[in-house]
């Protein structure tokens, strides 16, 4: 190619996101009624109707081939559309523009655009759409619930309120395999400290009997969940990608209050509410907490979500939404939980440092890997940097992440245990292993390594990192 030619890379981005129900406007001229939410909102009405109509048609059309599994995505040169029907007749559609390369031409000619149609994965963005719904459901309950409570108007209102903000937090360019897993990172902990946490949770639940469920996290990693797995999965997502990052930034900036000297007596502690009142002493303080919906054996229940944090330890207390939370309750909780949680946080920190020192450097990750267990949703990644509010950084090239995603798709196709070894360009080897319900992806950068050496390296990794689980070589 000629020198002087400039290239500009564009990552995938959100083109539009809409929710509709075809049964709401079945007659001609009423099509607009089908649309419950449309982003971006400034699109002309007829175009909205046209786009919804197209999706409806595609789904209808593909249904004739497989009534139970209609189309999930539509690949086009410029973009990709994802369809998801979370509740009967309610459709969520997300349109993502394919990544592209813009080549500037000399002589003032318009730039040439090259779309990279094959660079994005259905599994990743399909999972993103499902996550959008789960997140909505966590804070609002099902679509049907809103309909029952206040008709279409209510639903539209809720969707507008939720997705307007939520879509801004979607970072489609950094979505990858971890979004497919939607896993939970567990904090490694010795038995005794774990039992102390159990004891703490049980005592708090006993003295504040309003509390129905408790979850306990340290360093943004889960230690205990009283909620069921699926609810915890989405709550964890919310906490670690939205709530905690929002609060950790002021902490990092050094604006976090030190010990609170205003606390009476000598019960100094670092505890504070991340949801609800920021300052208990404020006479104007409002004792309102976000409400969440979790599943029960016969439906769902609505709960107040109290997130209380002391140093790196965070406890989520969930209380039936039918109870009104008062200043007295919050003060009692603060007085009871604050000192204990502060103590526990320093215990955990101490124990963690001891364990790290004992296990020594050989346990330190020398490999870049992602591990996921479908059974308990445990995930572990040495590829991803600490998540911040804005972006999730990976330390490897997107091309490699794409290979991981491809291997994952292969694994999803069959039930049996498998192992896939890929030689990527640029000297990298990518290994994917699946044993029972567990998946492991390793990225190796060994110059001139052969297959046998790569295999040995992965074996070594398994022996050091996963020696306490049944993970077949």
């Amino acid at each position: 190619m000629a020198s002087g030619m400039q290239e500009k890379q564009f990552t995938p981005c959100l083109l539009s996101f809409f929710i509709y129900n075809p049964t709401f406007g079945p007659r001609e001229g009423e099509e607009e009624k089908k649309i419950l939410f449309y982003h971006p909102n400034d699109v002309e009405k007829n175009e909205k109707i046209r786009n919804v109509g197209l999706c409806e048609a595609i789904v209808q059309f593909t249904r004739t081939f497989c009534p139970t599994k209609p189309a999930k995505s539509l690949h086009t040169q410029k973009n990709r559309q994802f369809f998801f029907e979370p509740e009967e007749n309610f459709w969520i559609v997300m349109v993502v523009r394919n990544p592209m390369i813009e080549k500037l031409n000399k002589d003032g000619k318009p730039p040439t655009v090259e779309y990279q149609e094959e660079e994005i994965l259905d599994t990743v963005y399909g999972a993103v759409v499902r996550q959008c719904y789960s997140m909505y459901k966590l804070f609002n309950g099902t679509f049907t619930r809103a309909m029952e409570a206040g008709g279409v108007e209510m639903l539209i209102q809720k969707l507008e309120k939720f997705f307007y903000r939520y879509l801004q937090t979607l970072h489609l360019q950094s979505c990858d395999l971890l979004d497919v897993f939607g896993g939970i990172s567990f904090f490694p902990l010795d038995k005794m400290t774990y039992l102390k946490i159990q004891s703490f949770v049980n005592r708090v639940e006993e003295s504040l009997s309003l509390i129905k469920y408790t979850a306990f996290l340290y360093n943004d990693q889960l230690i205990w969940s009283g909620l069921e797995q699926d609810d915890m999965r989405i709550l964890y997502k919310y906490l670690t990608t939205s709530l905690f990052p929002r609060h950790s930034e002021p902490e990092l900036a050094g604006r976090d209050s030190p010990l609170r000297p205003e606390v009476a007596g000598n019960l100094l502690h670092y505890g504070r509410f991340l949801t609800g009142p920021t300052n208990l002493k404020d006479p104007e303080a409002k004792f309102r907490f976000p409400k969440i919906f979790v599943s029960t054996q016969d439906g769902y229940e609505e709960l107040h979500l109290i997130v209380y944090k002391a140093m790196s330890a965070a406890a989520c207390f969930m209380i039936s939404a039918s109870v009104e939370l008062t200043r007295e309750f919050c003060e009692k909780l603060d007085g009871l939980v604050g000192p204990q949680l502060t103590l526990l946080a320093s215990d955990i920190c101490e124990q963690f440092t001891i364990n790290r020192r004992i296990s020594g450097p050989e346990k330190e990750p020398q490999f870049k890997f992602i591990y996921f267990n479908h059974m308990n949703l445990a995930e572990k990644s040495t590829i991803h940097m600490r998540k911040t509010a804005s972006v999730c950084l990976t330390s490897v090239h997107p091309d490699l992440m794409k290979i991981l995603g491809d291997i994952n798709c292969d694994f999803a196709r069959v039930d049996e245990d498998e192992e896939i070894i890929v030689k990527a360009m640029t000297d990298y080897w990518v290994v994917g292993k699946k044993s029972d319900q567990r998946e492991l992806y390793v990225i190796l950068n060994q110059k001139n390594a052969n297959l046998i050496e790569v295999n040995e390296a992965v074996k070594k990794l398994c022996a050091t990192q996963f020696n306490n689980i049944f993970f077949l070589d």
């Binding site: 039992l195 005592r203 049944f470």
Partner: protein, 659 residues
């Protein structure tokens, strides 16, 4: 109210005729014997011991009024003091001359205040001028002076348990000089001074014998001083001051028991508790000197429990003259006719009735409701005799309340108290296993062994008497049940005690019953339920209701590293033949496994390629091991070979490689 009496008198008192002009009554603390001497012994002497069998009756000549009468240890020799100068002896050993013999005290002009037997044939005379230590030769009817010590004596006390005599000396009587006797030797211990509340002027005897008692508490000898309140000194109420008298070294004031009242008191020691009887209020107090962490040289104690009377007592009217229908007469407690002896004897002479002698006993069940602080209650109970069932019932009762406010921290405290003692026991057992098996035994060897004085509530006690029934109780929230079980496991772990499998089983059972599989999963994930084969098998059995249990179980078996056979069985049972083969290879056990088992499983899957692969793998193994791909007859693989030929033909069999 009636179940609040925590002190009681023993059921069968020793009864004897009241003292009168013709009947003298003596009590010997050493042998706990009551002597009723009628007419100076001429019309009979009746000796009643602590139990009915040890009664002795005999006659002796009336040689004047008896001042003191005591048997030597084992009822071998009787000593009788009739005059101020001498003591008479009568042999009670068969084959020894029975005629009396006499020993006068050696010190001139001294008066014998009394005497104490320190052995079956060793006796100490205490005179107002000192002590004389004799050996008695019953066959020769004579005594030999072993040692003597001259010292002015006001009065004396004797502690038979430790063979220590305490002498009151000096004009005020408050300097006490103890002597200890052992196998014919007499040693002087360091003397000490009792601080008197008021020093009288001019000096006169000011420390009464009645206000001093000796007793062993938790294996240590103490001198107890009943310090009355005095208006002049700064002591608004009476207190008991305990001086610790060690074998060696100086005696130290170590405990002060606050009585918070004034009046007449008497002391007993029961089960290492100091019992203080208060006559005017007719109540008693108990003190446990170990209930408080030591905080300095002198520790001040408050009563463990609120003051209560001894349990009302009715004397069953004895004797054949009594009509059976006549109700027993209630006994006046704390009467002025009561005499209290160490460590736990109370003698009451009441008019018109026989004199009775009881042991004082502590009843533990009533203490449970009187001592609200459960942690303190455990400390208290654990140091008592026969406390095990009481403690277990306290635990059951405590859990019955369910998840009331603030109950769990109490439960945790109680568990920690129990397990602390349990841990100490386990450690002692480990360092000296023999001591535990034989229990407290006689002989010199037993003395070197650690003596387990405290009760131990181990896991099986807790499981059998408390936890298993508690988890089945209806109406208790499962949240509380699980919290309690986890608390117990936490406490055991905290004391590094290995948790028994049945506790884990109880946890799992409870979780499964309430469909709390995700909780179970998390516990296992953090290894709260320790790995074991039985636990892994239990998990396997849960697979049908909770599929992830399969993975949890396999992981556990893997970690055990002794369960490779089980892992193969599990995999084969799930028709994961290839996985089983890969696993057995990875642990290097491919050469030893039974080919038949794998071939059976492969054949059962109906997957021909799988069968081919497995068959081939074993043929290759045979080749490697024995130089031939054929199976040994002992492996019983004939039908599989046949099956293979049927499917793939003769020519597919691996041929023996030719050299």
């Amino acid at each position: 109210m009636s179940d609040e009496f925590y002190l009681e008198l023993s059921e069968n008192p020793v009864q004897f005729e009241n003292a009168s002009s013709v009947n003298n009554v003596f009590f010997d603390e050493a042998n706990k014997q009551v002597f009723a001497v009628r007419s100076g012994g001429a019309t009979g002497v009746v000796v009643k011991g602590p139990d009915d069998k040890s009664s002795v009756a005999f006659r002796m000549d009336d040689k004047g009024e008896v001042k003191c009468i005591k048997f030597s240890i084992g009822n071998k020799i009787l000593a009788v003091q009739r005059t101020a100068k001498s003591v008479d002896f009568i042999n009670f050993i068969p084959d020894c001359p029975h005629t009396e013999f006499t020993q006068e005290c050696k010190t001139k002009n001294a008066n014998v205040l009394g005497f104490c037997w320190t052995n079956w044939n060793e006796i100490v005379f205490v005179t107002d001028q000192g002590i004389e230590f004799y050996q008695v030769y019953p066959d020769k009817r004579s005594l030999k002076l072993l040692k003597s010590q001259s010292i002015n004596v006001n009065w004396y006390q004797y502690c038979p348990e430790t063979a220590v005599i305490l002498l009151s000396t000096t004009v005020q009587g408050n300097v006490l000089q103890p002597f200890v006797f052992k196998n014919g030797t007499m040693s002087k211990m360091s003397k000490f001074e009792i601080e008197l509340p008021v020093v009288p002027k001019p000096a006169k005897l000011n420390l009464s014998e009645r206000d001093i008692a000796m007793a062993t508490i938790y294996g240590q000898l103490y001198v107890m001083y009943l310090k009355h309140h005095s208006r002049t000194a700064n002591s608004p109420s009476a207190e008991v001051v305990l001086y610790h008298l060690p074998r060696e070294g100086a005696c130290k004031k170590s405990h002060v028991l606050k009585l918070n009242t004034t009046g007449k008191f008497a002391l007993n020691i029961v089960d290492n508790l100091v019992v203080v009887h208060h006559q005017s209020s007719r109540t008693s107090l108990i003190f446990d000197i170990k209930l408080k962490e030591p905080e300095g040289a002198v520790n001040t104690h408050q009563p463990v429990l609120p003051a209560r009377s001894i349990h009302p007592y009715r004397i069953p009217l004895a004797g054949p003259a009594v009509v059976p229908t006549q109700p027993p007469v209630s006994c006046q407690l704390y009467s002025s006719s009561w005499s209290v002896f160490q460590p736990e004897i109370i003698i009451s002479a009441s008019e018109g009735k026989d004199t009775s002698s009881w042991y004082l006993q502590v009843k533990l069940p009533p203490t449970v409701n009187l001592l609200q602080d459960k942690g303190k209650l455990m400390d208290f109970l654990l140091r008592r005799r026969d406390c095990k069932m009481v403690i277990l019932s306290v635990c059951s009762q405590m859990l019955e309340g369910g998840g009331e406010n603030g109950n769990l921290p109490v439960v945790a405290t109680v568990f920690d108290k129990l397990n602390q003692v349990y841990k100490e026991y386990l450690e002692a057992e480990q360092s000296n296993p023999a001591a535990m098996e034989s229990g407290p035994s006689r002989g010199s060897a037993a003395q070197k062994r650690p003596i387990i004085t405290q009760a131990v509530i181990d896991q099986s006690d807790m499981y059998t008497h408390v936890l298993s029934s508690f988890t089945e109780k209806k109406g208790v929230s499962h949240k509380f049940i699980i919290a309690v079980l986890m608390e117990y496991i936490r406490s055991l772990n905290q004391f590094q005690i290995t948790v028994q499998h049945y506790l884990y089983e109880l946890v799992i059972k409870t979780l499964v019953q309430h469909n709390l599989f995700y909780m179970l999963h998390q516990y296992l994930q953090y290894h709260v339920l320790s790995d074991s084969k039985p636990l892994a098998c239990l998990l396997l059995s849960l697979e049908s209701t909770y599929p992830p249990a399969h993975q949890l179980s396999l992981d556990m078996l893997k970690r055990l590293s002794t369960a490779n056979d089980e892992i193969v069985e599990v995999l084969l049972s799930k028709q994961q033949v290839l996985e089983a083969l890969r696993f057995i290879r990875s642990v290097g056990n491919h050469d030893n496994v039974s080919a038949r088992k794998f071939l059976d499983a492969a054949q059962q899957t109906g997957d021909q390629m799988l069968f081919y692969t497995v068959f081939r793998s074993f043929q290759q193994r045979n080749q490697r091991m024995r130089g031939s791909p054929a199976f040994n007859p002992g492996e019983h693989c004939e039908e599989h070979v046949q099956h293979f030929v049927q499917l793939f033909g003769d020519q597919s069999l691996l041929k023996p490689s030719t050299v």
